[in-house]
Symmetry: D2
Subunit: 340 residues, 4 copies
Amino acid sequence: MLFFENDYCEGAHPAILQRLAETNMEKLPGYGTDPYCASARDKIRAACGCPEADVFFLVGGTQANAVVIGSLLQSYQGVVAASTGHVNLHEAGAIEHAGHKVLPLPQVDGKLSAAVVEGYLRTFYQDENHEHMVFPGMVYISHPTEYGTLYSRKELEELSQVCTAYQLPLFLDGARLGYGLACPETDVTLEDIARYTTVFYIGGTKVGALCGEAVVFPRKAPAHFLTMVKQRGALLAKGRLLGIQFDTLFTGDLYREISRNALLTADALRQALRDKGYRFFIDSPTNQIFVILEDSTREQLAQKVVFSFWEKFDDTHTVVRFATSWATRMEDVERLAALL
Amino acid sequence: MLFFENDYCEGAHPAILQRLAETNMEKLPGYGTDPYCASARDKIRAACGCPEADVFFLVGGTQANAVVIGSLLQSYQGVVAASTGHVNLHEAGAIEHAGHKVLPLPQVDGKLSAAVVEGYLRTFYQDENHEHMVFPGMVYISHPTEYGTLYSRKELEELSQVCTAYQLPLFLDGARLGYGLACPETDVTLEDIARYTTVFYIGGTKVGALCGEAVVFPRKAPAHFLTMVKQRGALLAKGRLLGIQFDTLFTGDLYREISRNALLTADALRQALRDKGYRFFIDSPTNQIFVILEDSTREQLAQKVVFSFWEKFDDTHTVVRFATSWATRMEDVERLAALL
Amino acid sequence: MLFFENDYCEGAHPAILQRLAETNMEKLPGYGTDPYCASARDKIRAACGCPEADVFFLVGGTQANAVVIGSLLQSYQGVVAASTGHVNLHEAGAIEHAGHKVLPLPQVDGKLSAAVVEGYLRTFYQDENHEHMVFPGMVYISHPTEYGTLYSRKELEELSQVCTAYQLPLFLDGARLGYGLACPETDVTLEDIARYTTVFYIGGTKVGALCGEAVVFPRKAPAHFLTMVKQRGALLAKGRLLGIQFDTLFTGDLYREISRNALLTADALRQALRDKGYRFFIDSPTNQIFVILEDSTREQLAQKVVFSFWEKFDDTHTVVRFATSWATRMEDVERLAALL
Amino acid sequence: MLFFENDYCEGAHPAILQRLAETNMEKLPGYGTDPYCASARDKIRAACGCPEADVFFLVGGTQANAVVIGSLLQSYQGVVAASTGHVNLHEAGAIEHAGHKVLPLPQVDGKLSAAVVEGYLRTFYQDENHEHMVFPGMVYISHPTEYGTLYSRKELEELSQVCTAYQLPLFLDGARLGYGLACPETDVTLEDIARYTTVFYIGGTKVGALCGEAVVFPRKAPAHFLTMVKQRGALLAKGRLLGIQFDTLFTGDLYREISRNALLTADALRQALRDKGYRFFIDSPTNQIFVILEDSTREQLAQKVVFSFWEKFDDTHTVVRFATSWATRMEDVERLAALL
């Protein structure tokens, strides 16, 4: 069976396992106060060009979204997101569980445009009834998006300008950030992200770690953020598990390097699909590929390959997703290509 | 520096790291649906004598408490706990964040007695005003308690009877369960716990794992518990990380075996303290030792040993805690003894 | 200045004020346990043809929605509503504040169709990922809707069938219920509403009362609903204020009778608008009239009439709302007609 | 039957009913924007000596507590209160429902002392673990307390100083404020309360109104407080109902005048109880009287008088409460005295 279902199907990059083993019996203080967390924070600050950044290590993506959004919003505020945003659809209502509405806006290819956000905000404040409505308190974007697409630097800058004009934090969900940063087509760097956002996170779970997301406040975290992390059950006792992983990923250029493999294998797969005449549902440059399959083709392929059902396209077609990861082998792509 | 600050200062038992390495490149489905999680569940069911138990793997203790309590309570209910209970004092209000009051009751040595719980419940329902009050919806105990003490089988049975009489779930926080089960003084087995509680968890973080707690519903989990886990940001994408750890801990008798080391080293330390005439704050049979130190002694000792400040005892004395773990070396206990 | 801004601009029907005065110095027990509340409940049960119904009196509409929805949903559930539903747009996030997502569906004229709801539910349960999503836990409709439109008996029956098939409660927001029941075009009776819904409320605030909504569970209220009302700050100490008002409104046919005035005056206004060639935004048979005005017309009219801005229609037109009430005088409609 | 059960058993002061009737058919804007609300605000500002105060009218006391506390606290904060405080015991968990812990402190006669609060705060910040605990974010007191006792001006000033030192808002629940202000024994004025607190409310429900509490921020309300009121279902559509009532109560000295009746009748009842040798549970100077009755006496009395069960005192005695109100007639006190 070939496995292209998602980008979290393997364990961790071997360098991480090795560091975990080497440091295993060291006696370290808990809750992120150990030297590996400190070192990882320093390396991340350097990579972001933000020597003053506050960095926190959380375990997973839904958790990171819920903690960050819940901590930054006031009770009368909601979070603006693309209608396709992970926080709107696939987090089982984690944002609402913490008391806040997700304010969904129309998207194109999974992206929010500055114009759409600005139009929404302007209309909101013009509405005479807006004191009876949920106030927008933050803008959430993902990069890469849930459809594998990327913002350009200009698009980020424009979103940032709108957010600044309306005094809203801009939060970037980087669950797959490595696959965005390493993409040859992007002009967005980690420094850009640190410049244009109020807070973002660097995904580990989907990019080589066993678990873990590094939440970065390029300027300053809200007061008592650690307590809000604890309150949401998200403060890991053995913080070393996260610190060591991110310290390893940000030693040398490992995070970007291992991301490249996902892009190379995705490119090869995209080419094979194109060559065989498959129809793409969306044009994405990163490690997620969305294809429209005839249902009979899909059933046949599913006997030998694991991939994701995405949504019905029409009565006889389905959108499916193939994903590659830092660990995908080119030979598996070739085997898949042979089956297409 | 000698380290007796807590029982989560080391990494994981080497057998766990080895299994993580061996299985690392296997491509596995996510969210706890992999075969290692399945195997771990089976072994835990067998160890509990509950072939029908539902088992879920969560990352940490505060998270487990918040998810279990939040999922089982109705909105008009709170959770009954010892006033010293972890959920009442040291979880930054995680239970209240999910909308529920902790209903603190008087405790002795960190334990709730059936008589105290029954008295509270009887009074509650007699109160003509009780419809204006928070209804008790669950009883929470920890075993070992926050003071390292243990319930006897009879005490558990009595608590269970009270809970049954009032139709309340009984929830046992087993963050340090191994150290309770392996204690020579206990008459409580894992089967007993499964028999007397509605839900409990088997702590991994403090007993040999990098992270992880196994939540066990000996009879049946509430409907859609997985979604409630997800909603609280507690569903790990790479569930394998938890499954492999618990599968290892419940292979052979590893969980209990490694727990024994904590008890042996704690016993040796307790004996040394007793021999030197130290005064105990509480009489605990497990891996946490609470001692009353004169402040000058404390300061001196703190130069060579890391231990926990617990609370002021009086103007010139302090209660401190020494903790051992599955990984504490007897030679470190001997070194500490020499310093006393 | 003529006032057509809303249907809550007057005080109460004089018969209510008179009863409040007559009973004022009687010493009555609190929290809805007085004989006037009991009598009002009996009259409402009779009017609904539900001798077993549970009836609770709350103060306002947003409160009633938040209490009912929050009390009936489990934590993993959200409430299905028309995207234009009051709970989705104009309650400042009250539902999310209580931890639940509003699941907005496409609507026509402010109404949800059984087909749309059924399609959504079927797709939800077919989605392999639905355990990572908010479960639909209830369907919310308003009758009349926010656009003044009405469900037919057949439409209600079909919605009810879908809800039954999926075991979902159907909740009807009747903030303006009187104006629906008294409408000559409707075939829906109070008995129908009691038959087809799980819970609904009879609006008082907009239909002759100073405040108050009667929440009716035709079969049975959830356990401890009163405590959930209290917990949400919605239990009025002097419950008599609500009991006396509803007792008066349901003495004879007062509730329906006074509703008729709103419909007669609305009809007259609609006719005048039609005669003068105004363009309707939506075709509504009850006491709210939505008209598309050229902006210059709107500004001119606004100097002599108070009405509601609803939304921009295009660059030069606006949708406005005229509302009548139980207390609107026909002579004011005539004055307004003269200004058109 | 004589009725001394509580102070909300009558309707409203006749002057209120008269004003409601006089203004009934005026067409007024909603949600507290009408001229009666404006006038009431001005009169309250004048009475408080705070021309800049923000004043909001809510419907009830539990609602006022939940809205104020929920709006002022950050998510990591709880509210400090006397263990006997209404928010801790008798609001069905309304504060926790909004996500916040009540931090109960020891009380004397229902009152919090500055020393106890300061000791708690000092210890909290000294605790090395305090980042894992709920931060105190506000101090809540009631005046009169739940036991009818009163703070002195000096006690309020000291509490205020502690709160200022720790930058905590001080919130005073004045559900029975009239009965405190009109008490001959008090040295606390409304101006004092405005000076020493961050926010307080003036109770209407228990002091002559049908419903309503006036929340006063002597300096400034938090941003978007109105939206937080709406979000909690507490914004009355017909705000006039509250505005007219408070406008009437603060015309002349009506609020204080009608309060005096409760104090005079309570004094007479206290004297009668004292003369007959009854034992007081607590020494309270306002309109609530707590007496320890032998159970047989209690049962006998209960056949002719309605009073409140408070709590068991011992096996053969019970604490009961007699309450008077603005409307209690002296002749009823005399009848009760004759029965003692």
